[in-house]
Symmetry: C2
Subunit: 271 residues, 2 copies
């Protein structure tokens, strides 16, 4: 009997070849394609992966800000990561993704060594039925990357033929499809699975794209290991729309009620 | 009669000398000193100012992320700003502040040309009495920079001798002292006037410092001009504390109820 072992499409998408001196080569993959270029979440995840692969790294991701400066064409890209400053327990990274002479993406990240402190969560986990009790949503076929996620919307599902919604809030159970144990790159990608809120508000397709995404990691390797490949709970909501831009904020919770990330993004739109 | 015209301390603090090739020299000033180094808000404001002064700039600030990589010593610093990509209506900047060979601060910013679109504000302006009906707070003498702000707390004033608070929310009217018409640099600085939320929760001084600050600008030159030098309403609240870091989010509103910025930061702490 022959057993064929295939890499998870997520691992294929974030695979990088070290070129030395903080440079890594990767390539876009069809499963994570968006309408134009790759899904922003996979790009952010690949940048986190590049820093993790750099032998100079200390600790785990604490925060990352990714700026989607220009379109990423299908094919190869180079990521350059440089530690701009290394302190005792935190390390600041400057990151650039290029294709040929063009900068497609810039980012800064903070990695750090965590230690126990006073702990408290001021925000509340949304109250929704457990994942198995929420139906899996059918998602638009035309956008490849959504096929890599199982989404169960408790509130605010994408429905471009629907009426305009009074609130932009979406709450959903979500996991990689097929299931894959959660790690920092996959958690980074999950921080961007919340489609542009303007489409929910207006109930129709609107040209929109993330300009800048920030992720604050509250998860530790232990909370990630405890969560493994079960669905996490995500919630996203916009704050203000106007003059061509809007911002949206998101939270991702473990199914045990531990906040894993808080995340924010600014999105351009035309409507 | 001799009339002595003195620059506002804010303008002195963000004053920069162009050195060419996107480099600017500035210096720390005593009025904006924090316990160690300068107030993070004045550093962020000075980075915005540097991009504004660069002849290559297009449009107004749309977002900035500032990473406080290491301490800034009293004295001179150099800011280097480079456009990493210029699109039709947005421009991405990479920014580094150095003292000698040391990187003290890194940042990325997006500037852009705004155009009218559908507009809506989903978050609500906090309901508080108008600024003249809220008492001006006495602020700790030992921290210089707070002397440059008039703060009127409707909720969550800093009181390090107080009991631990169940919520980290603060809501306050705030303006530059002496009054100064609002502009993008001063609005950037205001986004960081909310002291570390952990001190409010624990009711005592706690070693803490911002690691990374993101500001999303909803204000336009018109809304800034309309607001002029009257107090704006700020609100800040933490989300999660644990393992040496916490995040806090803030909103700043014009007195006419227009959202001017939403802002987020990750803070390290020891408690």
């Amino acid at each position: 009997m022959t057993k064929i072992i295939t890499a998870h499409p997520f691992d294929t998408a974030i695979e990088l070849t070290p070129l030395g001196d903080g440079e890594f080569e990767g390539r876009t993959t069809a499963p994570y394609a968006n309408m134009v270029g790759p899904f922003g979440g996979i790009t952010a995840a690949t940048l986190v992966r590049a820093v993790q692969l750099d032998p100079r790294v200390i600790g785990d991701p604490v925060s990352i800000t990714v700026n989607y400066a220009g379109p990423i064409a299908e094919g190869a890209f180079v990521i350059s990561v440089q530690p701009s400053r290394t302190n005792r327990s935190t390390q600041h990274w400057s990151i650039t993704m290029t294709q040929g002479d063009e900068v497609t993406t810039t980012a800064t990240a903070v990695f750090g060594i965590r230690r126990g402190t006073w702990t408290d969560t001021e925000i509340a986990m949304p109250e929704v039925p457990p994942a198995p009790d929420v139906a899996v949503s059918a998602l638009p076929d035309m956008i490849s990357w959504v096929g890599n996620y199982e989404m169960r919307f408790a509130e605010g599902a994408v429905d471009l033929g629907a009426a305009a919604a009074p609130s932009s809030a979406s709450t959903l159970w979500v996991r990689d499809e097929p299931p894959r144990p959660l790690d920092f790159p996959s958690l980074t990608a999950l921080s961007d699975v919340f489609f542009p809120r303007v489409m929910l508000r207006l109930g129709r397709f609107v040209p929109a794209g993330t300009i800048t995404l920030t992720v604050y990691f509250h998860a530790t390797p232990d909370t990630l290991a405890a969560q493994s490949d079960r669905p996490v709970l995500g919630r996203a909501r916009a704050q203000h729309f106007g003059n061509g831009f809007f911002d949206q904020s998101a939270e991702i919770w473990s199914d045990a009620g531990v906040p894993l990330v808080t995340s924010h993004q600014l999105v351009y739109f035309k409507a």
